[in-house]
Symmetry: C2
Subunit: 220 residues, 2 copies
Amino acid sequence: MHDISKINIELKEHIHDENDHIAYHVKEDMTEKEVMVVNVMGAPGVGKTTTLKNIFKHLTTLKPYVIEGDIESDIDTQDLQNMGISTFQINTFGACHLDSPMIRDAIKKMEFDSKGILFIENIGNLVCPAEFSIGEHVKMLITTATDGSDKPYKYPLAFEKADIILINKCDLLPYVDFDEDFFMKGVRAQNKDVPVFKVSGRTGEGYQEVAAWLEARGLK
Amino acid sequence: MHDISKINIELKEHIHDENDHIAYHVKEDMTEKEVMVVNVMGAPGVGKTTTLKNIFKHLTTLKPYVIEGDIESDIDTQDLQNMGISTFQINTFGACHLDSPMIRDAIKKMEFDSKGILFIENIGNLVCPAEFSIGEHVKMLITTATDGSDKPYKYPLAFEKADIILINKCDLLPYVDFDEDFFMKGVRAQNKDVPVFKVSGRTGEGYQEVAAWLEARGLK
């Protein structure tokens, strides 16, 4: 087993290097197209698609595009296409995160006819997606008031890497024990400057500020 | 890249075979000790530790033991040890699921002095843990009313493999749009006979039935 472990580690490093290399070119390509790429990450059920739908209502200067990452279904893609949003489906059939080759292949098949934001909804998973760049300008992390305030302590990498954090389901704050101070202490231990927005997919509160932050951000 | 992909697939098969082989021996070993092993799976924040604490209150014939799987923290282990529960911590430092070698090594260091149930709290992740047997007799899947009713459609493998499913946070049902019929249709498409229990970690409702189901199950 020892040799196999060593090969496995080397292979993982190779896969990560190759992924980063392709991610670099995806980002360069999208920057040239004047389309900002947002990697939307979060555990299952935090409201990733609902968040996108709410952000779309408040985008004033940039056109939204979407890549939906799902293990098998296309429920969310149907939903977004019904709203008239240009959405491309990636099914990973078991794989627990998106990688940059998947995105490189997807953007070849998509049409970007004006300046915009490409939201890439990653697989619902708070662990693996944080390890793989997919050519994004911005990593957006979504967590919720119902999932508890200990998440930054338990899943530190996702919080460390985030460029923007949303706390969704804040309409349920009166009914749950969410300790905001403890949560923010955990966030700051990983990430000193990341902006944190409180939102509610149900009431639509808070998304105007998120959309404004994204539109002001630029292609860096 | 093509050769690397092929090596990667073969290596993955090898890792799965090796994992299953060790899992078989873990299960055999624990059966001999008359300790049932329960693999507790669910996304981050569904209330895995809260569920365990509630089940413990209702166990009448079997002693609880716990292995806590976390990426980095030991918050939950501290919590359980304060309750006097024999708890062993595994930190995976990045890895997104527990595997059977980790469990084999952990149980060597634990003491099982009477008939019981070993609850193994897996990493918060609805994708990867479902792929790896860890020597369990029972796979317990926890989902929540707040995470939405589309989970069985989006994460089919976890629902297919579950021996028992808990819907936690049912005290919040009045405040969210959880479509139980749609949820159950999705569950049944993957898993014809799995029992589904509605529970609330906050109010303690429903856990007596879960504990009774586990105690009646036996070492099969």
